[in-house]
Symmetry: C2
Subunit: 297 residues, 2 copies
């Protein structure tokens, strides 16, 4: 299980996902930007704008290496030295407010000294939370987790609830999903191969789950009010990503490629002062379901 094996598998996954998403979208095409990093490595950023189903989204791959500076090493809790990191990151913002926003990330990190770990996750942000959709989504994640370890889903679901949380709003970003980090032989008592298989399986869960939502929901009719609400929910998504998301902040602070990192931001987001959902409305129902600890699977 060498780093180049992992890198190649992630790169292949990126292209498979892009193919699935283009088929599901019908007209939208991803635009590719290959980039290199002076200190070592690079990536392939791919962004789709103005598709039939997807308004804006990115499916990014990167594999970077170099010297980890003292500050970054400290924040990661490792000794300074040469590092290697590879991953696939996805955020998709659909046109229709009835289609949820989705995020997926899988990543692998290693230090020259031998320390390594896998991390990742998938979470769903419906503009309108629907119980059946939330169940379908969480059941799919649980099924993937259960194939690898019966304890994973329960643990990683709680982790996602806590991670994808907008503290200043006291609301979750969406209905959560799974989130995990620092997985290695030492922390999990599993071989690197087993952990890699799990992480890749998470990556492969993404496309069938999300393209089904795209297929089933893209033609659901919506009103101006639904659209307005979608734009406000996207404002919350921006707040989470810029204020709290560790990947985004770490990337911006360490001189990552800004346009690749910020592909997660929507084409359009709105803010309204002190918006209050109407009592009894669909919007109020959604807010009542943006809580930690709801059991969907």
């Amino acid at each position: 299980m060498t780093k180049s094996h992992i890198e190649e598998a992630f790169k292949k996954l990126q292209l498979e996902i892009i193919a699935s998403l283009e088929t599901a979208d019908g007209t939208g095409k991803f635009q590719f930007d290959a980039w290199q990093r002076e200190e070592g490595g690079g990536g392939l950023t791919s962004v789709l704008e103005n598709g039939s189903v997807l308004e804006k989204g990115g499916v990014n791959f990167s594999a970077v290496s170099g010297l980890l500076n003292a500050q970054a090493a400290k924040s990661l809790g490792v000794e300074a030295g040469n590092f290697f990191a590879t991953g696939v990151s996805i955020v998709l913002h659909p046109n229709n407010p009835m289609v949820p926003i989705i995020h997926m990330n899988i990543r692998y990190f290693e230090m020259d000294g031998g320390a390594y770990w896998f991390g990742g996750g998938i979470d769903l942000t419906p503009h309108y939370v629907k119980e059946d959709q939330a169940r379908t989504f969480h059941q799919a994640l649980k099924q993937t987790c259960d194939k690898h370890d019966p304890s994973y889903y329960a643990e990683f679901k709680v982790w996602a609830d806590n991670y994808f949380f907008i503290k200043h709003r006291e609301e979750t970003r969406g209905i959560g999903g799974i989130f995990f980090d620092r997985m290695n032989e030492e922390s999990r008592g599993k071989s690197k191969e087993q952990l890699f298989d799990f992480v890749l399986d998470v990556g492969k869960t993404f496309a069938p789950v999300y393209t089904k939502f795209m297929h089933d929901l893209q033609h659901v009719p919506f009103s101006d009010q639904h659209k307005k609400w979608q734009l406000l929910r996207r404002g919350r998504y921006v707040e989470f990503n810029l204020v709290y998301d560790r990947g985004t902040r770490f990337g911006l602070e360490t001189g990552g490629r800004t346009e690749s990192i910020l592909m997660s931001l929507p084409a359009e987001a709105n803010w309204k002062y002190d918006f209050k959902a109407e009592p009894g409305s669909e919007e109020e129902k959604t807010l009542s379901l943006l809580k930690k600890g709801l059991e969907w699977a």
Copy 2:
């Protein structure tokens, strides 16, 4: 120069500014929200939405007190204890892309032990940078500064260039202005009265300068392209406020009133992947002027 004297002067300034802005807008009215803080003090948030000239903006006053926790004390470099803080904060986003975005803040902080300081600033973010407007703006700030100390403008202009800087974009938020902090007798060799007079004078500089821009520029014709560019520039404003602005981050982290803090966000902001201004365009010219160290006064 008691804290209640400062508080009353700031409160009065808020209402004067609101009156000036409503007159200049013509139809927009500020909506008032008085709020109280459990730990002590409160504020008066006032937000205008959908005016004739101003699309969204806030003119907020607060005066809060309580026990400064260990973490906040450490980040401020003072001993833990009881604090008092009062200030006026303004951000205005106009409808017409030819009218610039503006921000003003004045603030006073003291600890029970006797430590105190004033801070504040004004900075302008034109969607399209025009040299004559930048000169007018900076000359007005310099004139206010010069009345109090011949060294202030030069020092506080550099401070603003460094503070209102979007590191990951390597661009300034706008054309800067003045920024200052930690002003007290010890650091400045001036009496508390003199420093208060300066800060209040900065606050009073705001309305005449900005309402003149509103008056002169609100009817300048603009195209769809100008509007699109405005929405992208607002995206950058959001990035600055959520990623870097210390006041915003400190407020969100310490449980400040979210809706008052985030009144700074525009009604609508856009992001486009890897936007490149056309060579020779007005947009490219603006980007070339979003640099530190330009002398406008």
